[in-house]
């Protein structure tokens, strides 16, 4: 596989519940891919496995041509502080720290000096249009401001891949749009690859490509259809392309 990131035949269960039943997909450099599907379809699990936060039961995950799912926890954590950025729906910011301190945190954890980390944080506050929030704590911000701060924190180490799980799910419609607009703008400027998990077609509209999941397998129709003439009809005319196959037949 030639993309910056791939997952091959990924299988993951939680006890008896199977979340991924053999999913294969590849994401290109600088590509923004939306992973969509109803709740419980396995899309968040897919993101957590690709980001190296969860370990697979079977299959593999690779980054820049190298298999990473068998790396140690320490090595994967290091990857997440550098090459990978992660943005969740809410609750990532440390309540006791200001916006600038929150944003600087990943750099400080990677050994960057305090002053340089602060400068980088200020640059990102500027880029996301919230320089006035530098010394404000999360509790005093609106939801949209908190999510912009979390976005800045996910991007401060200039990751090559950003994983975003329902990044605007907790925001009202306009605030959500603004955060998404910023996310996409910055990702395009930085050529950052984005894996964007969402159940919302309007959010998926920001992506270059959509990969739909249903019951733990890829669903090319996006509608849970498996009948004749439906399977393989790839979304966006990418049949057999980077989206890969449904990986049927893998342990479930």
């Amino acid at each position: 596989m030639n993309g910056i990131l791939y997952g091959r035949d990924m299988v993951k269960s939680y006890g008896r519940t199977v979340a991924l039943r053999g999913v294969t997909l590849e994401v290109g450099q600088g590509e923004i891919v939306a992973v969509t599907g109803p709740s419980g379809c396995g899309k968040s699990t897919l993101l957590l496995c690709l980001a190296g936060i969860l370990r697979l039961d079977a299959g593999e995950v690779g980054y820049c041509g190298e298999r990473i799912d068998n790396w140690s926890e320490t090595a994967r954590a290091k990857l997440r502080r550098g090459a990978f950025g992660v943005l969740f729906q809410f609750g990532q910011l440390v309540a006791e720290l200001s916006a600038a301190e929150n944003i600087a945190l990943p750099l400080l954890l990677s050994g960057v000096r305090r002053r340089a980390a602060r400068t980088a944080a200020m640059t990102w506050l500027d880029r996301l249009g919230i320089p006035h929030l530098a010394d404000t704590r999360p509790g005093e911000m609106s939801g949209g401001e908190q999510q912009r701060t979390a976005l800045a924190r996910a991007l401060v180490a200039e990751p090559r891949v950003l994983f975003a799980d329902e990044p605007t799910g907790a925001l009202d419609s306009l605030a959500g749009e603004q955060v998404l607009g910023e996310l996409v703008r910055v990702a395009r400027e930085q050529q950052t690859t984005v894996v964007l998990v969402t159940h919302d077609a309007r959010v998926a509209g920001y992506a270059d490509r959509e990969v739909a999941l249903r019951d733990g397998v890829l669903d090319p129709s996006g509608l849970g259809l498996t009948g004749p003439g439906v399977t393989g009809a790839g979304l966006d005319g990418t049949a057999g392309g980077a989206a890969g196959g449904a990986g049927a037949g893998v342990a479930g």
Partner: protein
């Protein structure tokens, strides 16, 4: 078109040509206004006393008449803005008709295939509008027009999903 012209004239007198251009700019997703249609509308508005010809400009070209909105025109515009539009019934949509006919006449698989293809088309269009609205420096009118289109496409997509779930539930009921 009448009320858009009255709205445009609130900012000051304008020629028919300006009004046509402004119409096309304000409603970029709509069909461009035909000159004939603009002048015919102005003629009707003038006849009804809602606009008045206020100046002629012959410099270097054909006669161009500038129109202004009258007090009566402002009252008519106010009344229009106060009138609630009847919510569209949407039950005459081609999409709904096709799905209903497909389910009735061609069977579930055929309907499902159609729904999958339709979803793909809707998704592609939704992405197009999203690209349009994230374009730097987009005009406000373009932005709200794109929002409008996206909201309607999203509603259709949600309906497509619900319909499939309903069809599956019905089949389960029938087959036990």
């Amino acid at each position: 078109m009448s009320f858009l012209i009255l709205g445009l004239l609130c900012a000051g007198p304008r020629h028919g040509y300006d009004l046509k251009r402004a119409h096309d700019q304000r409603l970029p997703q709509a069909k461009p206004a035909a000159f004939g249609q603009v002048y015919a509308t102005l003629g009707r508005l003038e006849r009804d006393g809602l606009v008045a010809a206020t100046g002629h400009d012959r410099a270097g070209g054909p006669d161009r008449t500038a129109y202004s909105i009258t007090d009566r025109g402002r009252q008519a515009l106010d009344a229009w803005l106060d009138t609630v539009e009847p919510p569209a019934p949407h039950v005459t949509s081609a999409l709904l008709t096709k799905v209903t006919v497909a389910l009735l006449a061609a069977g579930e698989q055929r309907a499902r295939r159609y729904l999958a293809a339709q979803r793909q088309a809707h998704t592609a269009r939704l992405r197009e509008y999203t690209r349009l609205k994230t374009r730097p420096g987009i005009a406000f009118a373009d932005l709200i027009a794109a929002d409008y289109a996206i909201a309607h496409l999203d509603a259709d997509l949600r309906w497509l999903h619900t319909t499939l779930d309903r069809v599956a539930a019905l089949r389960q009921e029938v087959t036990g």
